[in-house]
Subunit: 306 residues, 2 copies
Amino acid sequence: MINKLIANIKKTHAPIVVGLDPTLKLIPKFIMDKAISNYGESMSAAAAAILEYNKGILDAIASYIPAVKPQIAMYEQFGIPGLQAYDRTVKYCKEKGLVVIGDIKRGDIGSTSTAYAIGHLGSVTIGETVCKGFDEDFCTVNPYLGSDGVKPFIDVCREEKKGIFVLVKTSNPSSGEFQDRDIDGRKLYELVGEKVNEWAESCMADDYSYVGAVVGATYPEEGKILREIMPKSYILVPGYGAQGGKGKDLVHFFNKDGLGAIINSSRGIIGAYQQEKYASYGEEGYAAAALAAVKDMKQDIEEALG
Amino acid sequence: MINKLIANIKKTHAPIVVGLDPTLKLIPKFIMDKAISNYGESMSAAAAAILEYNKGILDAIASYIPAVKPQIAMYEQFGIPGLQAYDRTVKYCKEKGLVVIGDIKRGDIGSTSTAYAIGHLGSVTIGETVCKGFDEDFCTVNPYLGSDGVKPFIDVCREEKKGIFVLVKTSNPSSGEFQDRDIDGRKLYELVGEKVNEWAESCMADDYSYVGAVVGATYPEEGKILREIMPKSYILVPGYGAQGGKGKDLVHFFNKDGLGAIINSSRGIIGAYQQEKYASYGEEGYAAAALAAVKDMKQDIEEALG
């Protein structure tokens, strides 16, 4: 899947991933009203609205981008109906040829991480039938529990030729509280980055590994350091756009081959129609506004990378 | 909910939480066969089997224990049907008067943690209707992203009078890889414990806080240190039984009031019938075997605490 991700990036000339993180505030009123008239004021209405909203955006942007990153929390907040909308969103994205990065940030003790890994990337055998759960192409993983919480994901990646992005230095304001602490002359995020590099080397595709990392666009200096520590890992870079990361901050996340990073924007794309810059599209034009924002993001990154 | 947890512990004289972590290997053949004959070899069959198995165990043990801890990964591995079984298990436990600790280990940037917090502990408003998602009483939280990944959970706890257990020192063999690293003369787990104590003091019920911690039974020395760092926090202690923790290891996790800790056992209880000690119950007696294991665990802990 890392090879497919790279091929998709080359085909679209866009190292971009669009975060499908729907909230009720982002969904146009006409979509929500229709869902409520069909399902009442219920979780099922929220789920139906999310799915319609996502499909509208995907129909507009799918051929311009290589990958999407649905944030499962935004679906999980609506209980079972919300997770059904997540499941259907993943399938719809795959039908469109997009690489799907499930932003699930799971991680637990070994036997439990195995369950997450097979539920999201692998399969279970029931009787003699192989069944797939959410079946994303990649997922994000939290490293706090150490190697034996991460390795079950790597084992499944190796079998399925899928991938993970391990949280190293996250984009949020308080990410330094633990991640920036000094340990034997380096930061915790550097130590985690060194581990990611070990895991990555143990699980290579061609030029890049199935094991990548998450490093926030909001921390470009740390990105530069981590790029060197983990040369074989793709870096998934959240924090561009709504969280404050700029195009010029992104250059150090890439390798000299022009690859090695994929930049995420969520609200900045899917909620573009609510921004002053794209207000002329109106609520009905939310999908066209998202496409315009994708094109602007692509140009911003192209200019930054020179 | 921390007050209800303490009341339930006093009523049952058992500082015990039973982990409802079903795997296909644990489910008796007669239950799985029936589910497959009803639903074919499918995720729905696995989910139906899990739910029947859980209900059997809960009917046997519910009046002897204060709380349960379903591990969501074990359900999530079976996709949407699995998560429906999780949802129904949570509701069934609550009908039985049990405190439900959702072992979900979520944690993300602020806006995303908010979505997890309202999905698992709080509610969303759709139109003018308040809807609840999974509605557990407590959940577990991963602290790697720092305060702004944890605070949304605390905000919801304060509103709903529910609680969280933050991962501090986990029970798995490689937990020390990051958690035991030296930072300014103390370990990372101590630093996280200090933060938990801050959060706990900001969110008190009566004697104890809505903010607790997870510390593995497999690390009793660390438990002793952390007990002192976080006096107001209940400690959820996994790792007893199948993972190797013994009754004598548990004494330092408790406060002088005899409270402050709740010990989890999962496979050791729900899979008791597969152990040599309880083999005479047979597969059909899996629930009675679980009850026998609960009683033995209670006695082991009572003896250890003197």
